[in-house]
């Protein structure tokens, strides 16, 4: 159980002009699984490399339980990184791969064999001791790589998109397995991913990284429903932003005035967001509604996506769960924003 603190980290790669990490701070509680979510180039993987010691930060500090680990050599930090590929040593059997770290540590052969067997049971591959990595499927290889890291009882596990190269079915299966084992052993874990669903489904908390900084940290449900800023909202799938002047609980936008729930009474400019699945599309005008023309109507399986043109510049995207009617292009509809789902966000 290790508490990890990233303090004011800054990192610029040689030859790079802008820093990958720009004074980033983040605390990961002990036993927690934290997902780092962000577009490529947002510095997610760099954070893991800094924690393992493969790279060193230009500024800032990394603390494990309050103590800096920067002076510790990468092979003594107890922070184990798992890559996108399993990187099992091809010339060693499954048993020797899992026991690799213990052998390095100097444990005796009997202990190693017993621990390896325990790990194989835990990852659901009992009896695989003598197999070669080339005889395993991609998912099995990742399981063995996981066991190879866990058997050392590391202070922290760092997962760098370890599942992104696998098929959907295997991936979902392994997501559950990793989550279960991580909870069972209580190892502080950081998961880097660009997959929103993976981050939401696996992590206790999600940190959204944008431009080398933490744009938001929160529990998945909260971050999904109430992202704090406009850029973070975009990242969790919100496309509708209503801007205007705030007067006594009403937002005066160019397209019309809407009732909103807010503590603020007066503001010259305010931005409100709403999730696409919370927007209603109806034939008749109602509370908080705007008239618009259907620009696009796409069937997506479990929902229908409507794009409604409110005026020349503004098009609003709504998701209505099935069953919902297909509406022809050019038809007039009313889109309704329930006030309880409209929330204010920071403009940037």
């Amino acid at each position: 159980m290790t508490n990890i603190e990233l303090v004011n980290l800054k990192k610029t790669y040689p030859g790079g002009e802008t820093p990958v990490l720009n004074h980033l701070s983040l605390t990961i509680h002990s036993g927690e699984m934290m997902a780092l979510l962000g577009p490529s180039g947002s510095g997610k993987s760099t954070i893991l490399k800094l924690i393992t010691g493969i790279e060193t930060p230009d500024e800032g500090d990394i603390l494990f339980d309050g103590e800096s680990i920067l002076p510790i050599a990468p092979n003594k930090r107890g922070a184990i990184l798992m890559f996108q590929k399993a990187y099992l040593f091809p010339f060693l059997s499954v048993e020797d791969n899992i026991g690799f770290g213990m052998k390095v540590r100097g444990d005796n052969a009997k202990t190693i064999r017993a621990e390896v067997r325990k790990m194989l049971d835990l990852i659901g591959l009992p009896g695989f001791e003598k197999r070669k990595p080339s005889q395993l499927s991609g998912g099995e290889q990742q399981r063995v790589a996981l066991a190879r890291a866990l058997v050392l009882q590391p202070r922290s596990m760092l997962l760098d998109e370890p599942l992104s190269s696998l098929d959907t079915e295997v991936r979902v299966n392994l997501q559950e397995a990793i989550r279960r084992i991580q909870r069972e052993l209580g190892i502080t874990t950081i998961l880097v991913t660009h997959d929103l669903n993976e981050a939401m489904g696996m992590a206790d908390r999600v940190a959204l990284l944008l431009d080398g900084q933490v744009a938001a940290v929160d529990q998945p449900m909260h971050l999904y429903a109430r992202p704090p800023t406009k850029p973070t909202s975009r990242f969790v799938g919100i496309t509708t932003f209503l801007e205007g002047e705030l007067k006594q609980g009403h937002l005066a936008t160019e397209q019309g005035t809407l009732t909103v729930n807010t503590n603020r009474h007066q503001a010259d400019s305010a931005v409100f967001a709403i999730r696409p699945e919370h927007i209603r599309v109806q034939k008749e005008p109602g509370q908080n509604s705007m008239a618009g023309l259907i620009a696009e109507c796409i069937f997506r399986g479990d929902y229908i996506e409507y794009q409604v043109a409110v005026d020349k510049q503004t098009s609003i995207r709504a998701r209505v769960p099935m069953p919902a009617p297909l509406i022809e292009h050019g038809q007039q509809v009313y889109i309704c924003f329930p006030p309880e789902y409209l929330f204010e966000v920071e403009p940037n």
């Binding site: 990468p74 092979n75 922070a79 010339f91 390095v104 540590r105 080339s134």
Partner: protein, 264 residues
Amino acid sequence: MKKASFIAFRVVLYAILIAPLFLFGLYAFSERWFFPAPLPTQWTASIFTRIITNSRTTAGLSASLSLALIVTVLSLIIGYPAARVLGTKVFRGRSLAWLIFFIPTVVPPLAIGMGLNILFLRLGWSGTMFGVVLAHLVPTLPYTIFTLSGVFSRFDENYELQALVLGSSRLRIFLTITLRLILPGLVVASLFAFLISWSQYLLTLLIGGGKILTIPMLLFSAVSGGNPTSIAAYSLIFVAPPVIMIAASARFLTQHGNTIREQY
């Protein structure tokens, strides 16, 4: 039909490769062999045993073997860092580095030999084993560097990083992970180095100045002597180690073909 012609092609190839060895075998063990007899009329092993137990031959064999082994080890040690950087990194002046490493393969060996000879005479390295080893490194290094850089261009450094975060020290990673991953390439590179050094005549002669007597030099003097039996015997001694090494490593390389493929 296709298969038949393929077999015929193989037979011809083998014949071309094996025929000289076969002839050497006949000559080395014949006592009387006059035209038009298709095979020697009298056989003997005594000439061959006399040549191979001759102190000049055993000294030549040990000089050749130790020289080739030292050169092989040194060219791997020197070639490894160069090959690793050339194979894994992209940097300014990379092609210039390639060119410098490859110049020895295009410059005539005589030019290199003469130049080195003048230099080594001044430094006092002429006629010494040390000087000959250095001279042999000139033609061997391009081949070890080329072979190993090919291996490194497909090498994934994340294997080393994975071992590092699992607790290995840098030295342990190098010995147990890196060397093991590039082992097939190392075998090929050392074969090249050994063979080039083993068959080196000119540089040994120029730099060794007749003081370092290797098997190729004994073979040359036998050839100028003109006795077919001793030429054949020396030829057999000359080809034996390379043939044995290639035969052994060919088996090794085919056995490990799978691991090369699964890595990359």
